[in-house]
């Protein structure tokens, strides 16, 4: 049978082990918490269906008629570097995507992940660019700019959809903001980039 001294030694050891894990990690403060760096590593066409558009006057073989445009699934890969001596949590990351200088999509990743001190994680964010949705967006937000360019929305979309795999025009990431947390403190990192890089 163990003595009371032995029992308390075990309890103390557990307490030290539990407490020690936290104590060994340097604690972030408002002064020491540096904003992690986010950079665009690459962009790829994750899945591709070519270019097509069916107006709602076209009767489909199955399903209901509507204005349907080819989807485009793009994946954006970011390097997220933690320059701190303590782990930080990436809480969310969002950015706007522009084809050339036309804003087409706003993407958001809300999956959290911890980044060890001094290490770089990679985050992949998928964005679905729907043909019809992009057309409406282009007509509304980019309507005046297209008019000045002398191009209609369909022609512009077809050009983008059919050449994106060859990297013929810049896909710009802009207005990026990534929210990081550590021990209740918050840092927001801004980022932008282009692929192919200029």
């Amino acid at each position: 049978m163990q003595s009371w001294f032995g029992k308390w030694t075990i309890v103390l050891a557990v307490a030290l082990l539990v407490g020690g894990c936290a104590a060994m990690t340097p604690q972030p403060t408002a002064d020491t918490f540096k904003a992690p760096e986010v950079t665009l590593d690459s962009m790829e066409v994750a899945h591709y269906w070519g270019w097509w558009f069916f107006a709602k006057t076209v009767q489909p073989t199955k399903g209901t008629a509507g204005d349907y445009g080819a989807p485009l699934d793009l994946a954006f890969v970011f390097n997220v570097h933690n320059p701190n001596t303590f782990p930080v949590m990436l809480e969310s990351l969002k950015f706007t995507v522009a084809f050339e200088d036309f804003d087409l999509n706003s993407l958001n990743s809300a999956e959290t992940q911890w980044i060890p001190p001094g290490k770089t994680n990679q985050v992949r964010v998928h964005g679905m660019f729907d043909g019809q949705q992009s057309r409406l967006n282009l007509m509304l937000v980019g309507g005046q700019k297209l008019k000045e360019k002398g191009v209609d929305a369909f022609t512009q979309l077809e050009k983008w959809w059919t050449t994106i795999g060859e990297g013929k025009f810049p896909v710009n990431v802009k207005e990026g903001a990534a929210v990081f947390k550590a021990d209740g403190l918050v840092r927001v990192s801004t980022f932008k980039g282009a692929y192919p890089a200029p």
Binding site: I10, A15, A110, Q133, V141, V188
Partner: protein
């Protein structure tokens, strides 16, 4: 025989479990948000979406819902109704207690479902149709509804501008409506506008079908010229309104412009240039950066969470988002205090207990009762003058026409 565990083993287990629990999530309330950042209304929807996330961060940083944090599930549905329906199902699976919705499309498509589910749905569709609790009991918003806006705009122009016109007292004033006929959003307030104009003695001209995507509206302006209107009411979003008033200016239509909120924002003078001068619009909230309660926090959180977007690019739509988010938070706090965070509890013990509740943000006080979900009867009218938005009138429809407000105007 089962061995008896010693006290010190239990103490060690409790310590480890206690540490692990401390590292886990605190009590959370799940809220869904549907936004359009890429679709047909993204010209105004993107800024609204940013505002929703920033406001929720502010609410969480200032104590949450009586100590409980809000977990926001925010999605861009691109103004595609099937996607809105799918995301709504996801919100239910995530046990969201309320939804911050967006436009007329998703709001009207979901209205019967949210009523059946008893899911409070606070949207940026301010249609008067959503204000009758008999028809849409769980649809709410923190704004002047479109019909009250249109009535207020017509009244303000009639009171302040018409008496200064050379033909005042000689003939009836003439009004034309410019909007997209096929859009439920654009046409939501036209019936009320026509009623108000007729009541005030206007001659109403042929309605003009202007697409939300219009960049050239010369044919509609030429059609208006035959009628010689004194004033044009616009109920589209800002891109289309800017194109219309620009063409009206170029073709010397000579009419004043009165605009419902989505067409009257900081982008209007940028897009329409000189043509925007003198335009009147209904803005239930302050414009971004104006000196009103909570604006310092709106600016602080915009800079903190979206530092890549300059403040000069932010608009009144951020303020609209804050109004809806703050209004929902207040309802949740009241319901939580009453110990009932069910959908019905949030409606009855939250929203419907608000009487002249002041959020700040330049929004007039808000009330909801079990029989009337029109948040307010005051339409705040601004004029774009010398490069600034200046408040020129506040029309209180309930005070001016109490019987009609009470008995006739609810729900359309």
């Amino acid at each position: 025989m089962k061995p008896k565990r010693s006290w010190w083993v239990w103490l060690s287990i409790v310590m480890i479990l206690g540490w692990a629990a401390g590292a886990g999530a605190a009590d959370e309330i799940n809220i869904g948000a549907l936004n359009d950042m890429t679709g047909a209304t993204s010209d105004v929807g993107k800024d609204y979406a940013l505002g929703i996330a920033e406001a929720i961060n502010y609410i969480n940083d200032t104590g949450g819902i009586n100590g409980k944090k809000i977990k926001l599930f925010q999605f861009d549905y691109g103004y595609r109704i099937p996607e809105a329906l799918t995301k709504y199902s996801l919100f239910k699976q995530k046990k969201c207690v309320a939804v911050l919705g967006w436009g007329t499309g998703d709001t009207e498509a979901l209205a019967p479902t949210v009523g059946k589910d008893k899911m409070p749905y606070i949207s940026a569709s301010y249609s008067g149709h959503l204000c009758d609790p008999k028809k849409a009991p769980y649809n709410l918003f923190f704004s002047t509804d479109y019909s009250t806006q249109a009535r207020g705009l017509i009244t303000a122009w009639f009171d302040k501008k018409w008496p200064k016109k050379p033909d005042f007292g000689k003939r009836k004033p003439r009004i034309v409506f410019a909007y997209m006929f096929a859009s439920p959003f654009s046409s939501a307030s036209i019936k009320a506008a026509e009623d108000q104009a007729t009541m005030l003695g206007f001659e109403v001209g042929p309605k003009q079908d202007v697409s939300l995507f219009a960049i050239d509206t010369k044919s509609q302006i030429l059609a208006m010229k035959d009628f010689k209107p004194d004033v044009v009411l616009h109920t589209n979003t800002v891109m289309s309104v800017a194109a219309t008033i620009r063409d009206a200016y170029a073709l010397e239509l000579g009419a004043d412009n009165i605009i419902v909120n989505w067409g009257f924002d900081e982008a209007l003078p940028v897009l329409a240039g000189k043509a925007a001068e003198g335009a009147m619009g209904c803005a239930p909230w302050a414009f971004f950066g104006q000196d009103v309660k909570l604006m310092d926090k709106v600016k602080e959180y915009a800079q903190k969470f979206n530092p890549g977007i300059p403040l000069e690019k932010r608009t009144i739509h951020t303020i609209q988002a804050w109004a809806n988010a703050m209004g929902l938070a207040e309802a949740l706090k009241r319901a939580d205090k009453a110990g009932d965070l069910t959908g019905e509890g949030i409606l009855k013990k939250g929203f419907e207990t608000m009487r002249n509740y002041e959020i700040g943000l330049g929004l007039a006080p808000v009330s909801f009762t079990p029989t009337d979900h029109r948040p307010q009867s005051k339409a705040r009218i601004y004029e774009y003058k010398d490069g600034k938005f200046v408040m020129m009138d506040e029309v209180d429809l309930k005070a001016r026409w109490p019987e009609k407000w009470e008995k006739e105007w609810l729900g359309w």
